[in-house]
Symmetry: C2
């Protein structure tokens, strides 16, 4: 997104604590917002605690604009959400963060400057301040424990705005899974199974005999579900061989329903060749 | 949700700052999580700063369990997410918070205890700790400003878990719009329009005459879009009457394309009756 692209402004009305201003800036930067406006910050501006709590969001802190009146802070905006935790007796729509994120993106796309207004730590916004907004925004908190601080509320809204800028779900993650070697082919898997099952059969693992087929299927299901890579199959075959006490993998492999032929004991299965 | 319902456990590995433990507890409580486990908290436990920063989440702080080893903190869990900000060279799925929220709910429903693991403030989790988890969880932050603190990361995940417990979007908000009086009927609106248009016509507002119909439609569109309540219509009619200098609303109203009949000036329209 270019620097000249429109994005919502965050407005804090009479923020009391520098830590919260810094936390709000930090929340904003993580999710792509950068314009922060303060109306009558209690401790004035600049504020050392705000900068100290801003982490990598110093660019937001440095660009903060300070206003004496909320009317001036929203003057250039075409749409404002007032974020509140408690119901107000006022005839405005009440929206959740998912809707708000999408609507804010639509406003961005239409070139309309928008703002998200947050109130004081203890008592939020007063009704005159809410009157300056278009709609109310509230978060789906559990009512008996509702106590999000300003920075946390900013975080959730900024996060939803960030998500709404992507098509699809969980897009925009900073990384994906590590590159992995290709999956084992079914032939490679079958050699692993046969190797394992032969070893177990020799050691009388599949008892009673009538349950062998089921036990074999259950074992194979474990490894199928693991989606082993070719490398992992080789590793497991080495594990099996080590446990058997062999240094080489057997060259002859048996199918699942067979028992060792007479005279064909473990020693005769040692071989130098690569059976897989 | 009953107290015995299963919900994810939040695990902080070697948290350095009591403020972040408190912030994490606060984030959890707001979105319905309550079980917090700490592995080797740097400043021990209990921690005054944690309690001081927990706001209404003291019940979470009081129920904290402390462990010497991460293995013990996850011992009873069937599924664990390891939350990281940076890519790791490890063969695990990488998920975003939306997917994780839904998956955690599915685990809850299946009676499987789950955990969400977060690392140290500065350097997160090491690879051995990640190895204890099933999948990696990461948040869609802007890479160049990625600096969410532990409490902020907990907040986003807890928020998505909360949302995933509801059907539909933006459900679970603590309140909705204030009850409003019923919408005005079209008849009430028409009386408002006719009142306003008659007043404006008398004062030669609709000039040039050829544009009157369009101007009337545009005015009516404003008020239609506002979805006025019956009370609001009455208020606006009083506003118009006051501006006109009247104390009573006119009884005779004119249609949009008419001009006042000869001899029928403002005074003769005053009446005591209720024309609306």
């Amino acid at each position: 997104m270019s620097e000249t692209a429109i994005s919502p402004v965050v407005i804090l009305c009479e923020p009391q604590m520098g830590e919260n201003i810094g936390g709000a800036a930090r929340a904003m930067a993580n999710f792509g917002l950068s314009e922060l406006r303060l109306v009558r910050p209690r401790d004035g501006w600049p504020n050392e605690k705000a900068a100290a709590n801003a982490s990598r969001a110093l660019h937001v802190i440095e660009a903060v604009k300070v206003y004496d009146r909320l009317e001036d802070a929203v003057a250039d905006l075409g749409f404002v959400y007032a974020t509140t935790a408690r119901s107000r007796d006022v005839t405005k729509e009440v929206r959740g963060p998912v809707h708000a994120g999408r609507h804010l993106r639509a406003l961005d796309a239409a070139g309309v400057r928008s703002g998200i207004l947050f109130g004081r730590e203890r008592w939020g916004l007063d009704n005159d301040e809410i009157a300056l907004a278009d709609e109310i925004l509230t978060l789906p908190v559990v009512p008996e424990f509702a106590s999000l601080n300003i920075a946390q509320a900013v975080l959730v809204v900024a996060y939803e705005w960030r998500k709404a800028g992507f098509e699809g779900e969980d897009v925009g993650l900073p990384f994906g899974p590590a590159e992995r070697s290709p999956p084992a082919t079914k032939e490679e898997l079958m050699h692993l199974f046969e190797h394992l099952e032969a070893s177990l059969e020799e050691r009388n693992f599949f008892r009673p005999t009538v349950k062998k087929d089921t036990m074999v299927r259950n074992l194979r299901a474990i490894f199928q579900r693991t989606q082993l890579t070719a490398q992992e199959v080789r590793t497991l075959r080495g594990v099996i061989a080590t446990l058997e006490g062999r240094t080489h993998r057997p060259t002859k492999v048996k199918g699942p329903a067979q028992t060792p032929a007479a005279g064909e004991g473990p020693d005769e299965q040692d071989g130098e060749g690569d059976g897989a």
